[in-house]
Chain length 409, copies 4
């Protein structure tokens, strides 16, 4: 017996396998040798369930997908101020290899174009390229829970032909965005692009981002909250080269693609998804990959801005106690997110004066987010001042930590 | 008694009132006469609860915020193919008044820069500027549930000085992106920018977008699902001029600002929020408005990519029937979104062979999204083939419409 | 009996007639109807000798060639300061229809690109388009010594399709480079481009420029010295669209071409030359025209920078008087230009002290330029102070006007 | 006794010495140490007369002025086709350090911007930087007739800070405009810019160019005709950075300036002129230098396009022989340039039929250029066919080499 979800994804996988368009990247000779028919798709839930199809264990070089992790690591180790002073976060509307800092005083437009990525590479922790690359390898290894390696042939090939990236590094040096030896920064960049991964690895990387930065199997928090929010934001606006706008309208997920044919996307709190298929479209994004993501997004309505008409009423029932008419009970449901909390508070505000006691039953509440607890506590205090009572039935102990809340049970 | 949320927002409002930076827009003379101290903030929940502070009922011209509604109306009436053939959806990395189509064969980069917006204006339904503007006024009137008007003095001022926009219209005409008389298109644009709104109106416009396109008080669906998804996507990537990337990283909500000092943002399924404060920063976005939105986003964790560590387990309890060991009960909770459905299916797949019957209790399930019902029905069929039984306790009738599902109760 | 020069030019004309490449301009529909086989070449000496081949009397619209005369007329009537404040004189490295003033504060790069030309049109003398065009027609009529007319169909066609030029005019208006109604300026421009001329007319226009601004047959000075110098300079650096550098290296003459297929070039003090052949190369210059000019320049060594090895010795003979050894005679030859005058003065300076008297014989001197007369007079005075004598044999009265010069004869 | 020309130039020199504006270049630290008050001016006639004022023997690094000689040497040794395939000749309208080849397939716009100059450096003859620089040093040494050296401290300073030039070299390498190691090409460029010269040296370099490529004192031809024409053309359109158009309109001479404060200009067949004064204007051209050249050009009317009204009549007298009415005598004067020859031929064509014999007296003719001899010979043949006679009085033997010409005397 197979899961119907498994069948559906396989069906999408199979239909996209038929797409023959696109060109394997040739800008470095080793990439040109990629098998154009290679094709893998891997969906990994935040609980670690894995749906894998085709060439999910074929290693290929990570290329530009490394940019998000180098940026994240630079942010974690140098801090936002130091990194933001050197790399902006605006979509560039330009090609990935644009000579971004050309207007002489400006930072690279964002960390996803080469200029910004090389700058991020220069900010990795460690002394010299060896240590810096080792730091990134170690970081990525924690995501996939096994050691990763560099493809020395691809690295040699990148190093032999990467004149444009060297030009960019010299330009960055000329405006002091990169300090020290610009060739060291570009060397780190060439190496990080040559890290070998599989589609399964990428899905695990994405799933960890989807899971709030916590690696599912090890339980380790690998990305801090602020860095993760930043990285997903940048992926959303700049991750898909100059096809970012189309991706956002059609797929609607934070993502990053690489010239070797990989794409990784994040459906927050739900899934990490990755594809591998070398032939690229004119924007440098994998043709079969884009098609598969578009189908998945459509099939599962997972676009960030998929409209939800109506909203679950947080207060499922409001009932006046038959025996004690001064008491009202609220049975809550769903999340106590901002809107949910606001909705409860609004109703509490508008209770008729005859209501002297409200009992809020959190038994069916899923989660409370932000500072809902504090707000309810504060409301409780105000009820008290008003000579009324606010009590909670909280079998899940969701309000633990919210002081001064009267809990029943 | 006031709601603590009310207090919190007022506190944010008050703190931002102290910000004295920014310059009132002067590019058209009538805008320059705006009161730099005018300041209003309005938060409107999808249920229609309204939190209003300061000058929320002061009328001002909508300016660029009109672009999203003109674009939406063009999409609704002309269809995606016709509009997409003329206006792209990529962030431009350029100023709002960039001569976007200059590379002679290309469409405007997106509908939020002037070139794209004027093109959208030319595609509004109706014969001639009068009818086209009337159509947009009628559309916007449906959102705010009262008639809107044009500020004739601002319109006259725009018309007198809008040479650059006329240049853009002629350029668009020269590459056949605009057909007919380009001066008619720019006239529509000048008029639509001169529509008078209040911050309360903008909050209502935003709340309707947040509510899946349904106007709360009238219950009318004003934006179709596909258009709404598109419009929110474009707002997310291009809505805040060339400060879009910073907005996305710091506030993280689809939004649109205008040169008269308004900003409108959408927190899907929860709130529409709007601010009004004429002094602008160097990107043309209201200084106090940006500050207020940043504080709100931080206070309530409402950034689109606010990480959520861990995920509610959709299967809250799995219990083997004490009396009938072949029967297992799943008590579900939360949303049956893709990941939730997947999680349930995964557990059903991995039930030991001794399990002959599974009863899924949907009593505490909030909502089911997408085609979760179909997937559960299909799983039910497969269980049957396997000689097992899958049954549902569905007091909310969430599975109505999913055929062939055995429902208990 | 025909002149061998006539034969040579005809030979060049015939060989270039065989060239079948190029495309007739289509950007306005009336130009597209031009006969691609039409071809004329006309060489006019500053003395008025005319060598004409092929379609030299076929009328066509002057198009961009009008730019140099509108610029000249604006300079003559408004003065350098007023015009230079609005139009720069730098080569743009850009296409003719570049939106030059886009960087918002800058003047059009030069008067040969459309932006600069439309600005020049706005500066023509007269109130309103009618008068301004009449002024230019009158000016051009003085060059060719007969009235010129506008092709109303081409004008109508330009007006119907000139959206890009209208865009440019609005942009210029938006940065106050054009004052008043930008549509009036562009209307003047459309009309001036539609003035009908023949290749013979163009050759006469060019010959007048070659002749120091003096129309050969009427003897009228039509361009002042400073304006002529300016106009030829601008033609040299910006006259041939973005093929200006190639033209300068290969042909080496100030020139201007138009999209209708005309080219006009100036060989100062010698010839005006014009060609007409509609098919254009990728730079918008007439293919047969460019080829003919290249051949003429090569055949006659008329490139501005054609090297001349060695220099005519201005002092042809220096002879000591056999009877009066204190007297030395200089027989001069050629032009007394700067270098010639310097050479004479240098020898006068280095005369041995035994030389008490120098007689300079100007009989064979062609012309004296600049202030050679003053310099010789000053030298004469210094000789006197030194107790020596400087006398001149000046049968052509070249030194008339140079005071205090002792003239023999 | 001093020459009045000497006095005049000194006066111009003195007046420009008072100009205190401009900034010494700081882009490499060694240049910043230049004495801002250093100032020299040197005028050298093609006959070798030298007028020198101020710091004409102070050595400074040649900087960008080296570009014209490296380009010339590349053309001489590689040929036009090879060089033109890699370096275009169009004015760029851009800054000197523009990343010219950025549009990925294109050659540098011209050899005067850094991108073109570095390409030219890569094409110098020799194996490796040492030999290539030695070749250029040897070439320049032949112009100034003494050995030149490199300023090792400036070279070291350029090498330490020239990140932007390295970026340009890598870009050129990335599009295969430079082959081999781009760092070798940029090293040659850094060294050539560090060659030490004086203003007197520059004047001699310019005078040699003015003298048709022949070094005055050694009599050696150092630049071939075609290369010299090319080099002067490129100097005229691109020699003065992005101030080329202003220089052409105001000074009107082929020239080249460098960031160390030198300017060199060529008045063909007359003078080479050079100035040295480190403070630069916003275009990177020496402020006092530009002022001095402008004054010199104005004072001596040496602008290339200085209008000459009227033209010397080549046929000074035409007289019918009193004794033999069938004979007519032409007394010529001035140059037999194209126009002069044409003028003579035209009159020969229009002789009345009664004229049976024409005697052309070349005694007072200065020079004949191009193929005037051949044309006269051909005319002579046609007269013969017509039964008439054409004879020449040619005491200077100007027609030697023109076959079949009947010479009297």
């Amino acid at each position: 017996m197979r899961s119907p979800i498994d069948d559906e994804i396989r069906d999408i996988f199979d239909r996209c396998a038929a797409i023959g368009e696109g060109q394997v990247a040739t800008y470095i000779s080793e990439l040109a040798t990629a098998d154009p028919s290679a094709y893998g798709l891997c969906v990994m839930s935040v609980e670690g369930h894995c749906y894998a199809y085709g060439a999910v264990d074929v290693p290929f070089t990570i290329q530009s997908i490394s940019k998000i992790f180098a940026y994240a690591l630079a942010l974690e180790t140098r801090g936002f101020d130091a990194v933001d002073a050197l790399i902006d976060v605006e979509p560039s509307g330009e090609a990935f290899n644009e000579l971004s800092p050309d207007s002489r005083t400006r930072r690279p437009r964002n960390p996803m174009i080469n200029a910004g990525a090389i700058t991020a590479s220069s900010l990795l922790p460690g002394e010299g390229p060896e240590q810096q690359v080792a730091a990134l390898l170690s970081c990525l290894g924690s995501f996939v829970d096994h050691p990763l390696e560099i493809d020395e042939r691809v690295y040699a090939s990148e190093a032999a032909t990467g004149h444009r990236n060297r030009a960019i590094a010299h330009l960055l040096r000329s405006v002091d965005v990169i300090g020290g030896d610009p060739m060291a920064a570009v060397d780190v960049y060439f190496r990080q692009c040559s890290i070998l991964v599989t589609a399964r690895d990428l899905a695990l990387l994405a799933a960890t981002l989807a899971n709030g930065g916590v690696q599912h199997s090890t339980g380790r928090l690998l990305v801090s909250r602020a860095v993760l929010r930043r990285v997903l934001s940048v992926m959303a606006s700049c991750g898909m080269y100059d096809g970012a706008g189309h991706w956002m309208t059609e797929v609607g997920l934070p993502a990053k693609s690489g010239f070797s044919g990989g794409i990784l996307a994040v459906l927050p709190s739900q899934f990490g998804v990755a594809s591998y298929a070398p032939p690229l479209n004119e924007h440098g994004n994998s043709v079969r990959g884009v098609a598969a993501f578009r189908s998945l997004s459509e099939r599962y309505g997972s676009h960030l801005f998929e409209p939800r008409v109506g909203r679950l009423h947080t207060v499922r029932h409001r009932t006046r106690d038959a025996e004690d008419p001064g008491t009202v009970r609220y049975a809550l449901q769903g999340d106590l997110d901002v809107a949910g909390t606001e909705s409860v508070l609004w109703q509490l505000m508008t209770e008729p004066t005859g209501t002297r006691r409200v009992v809020i039953d959190l038994t069916a509440t899923d989660r409370i987010s932000g500072h809902a607890g504090e707000l309810l506590a504060e409301m409780s205090r105000r009820y008290l001042v008003d000579g009324r009572t606010l009590e909670f039935v909280d079998p899940q102990e969701l309000l633990v930590g919210a002081p001064d809340v009267a809990r029943l049970l």
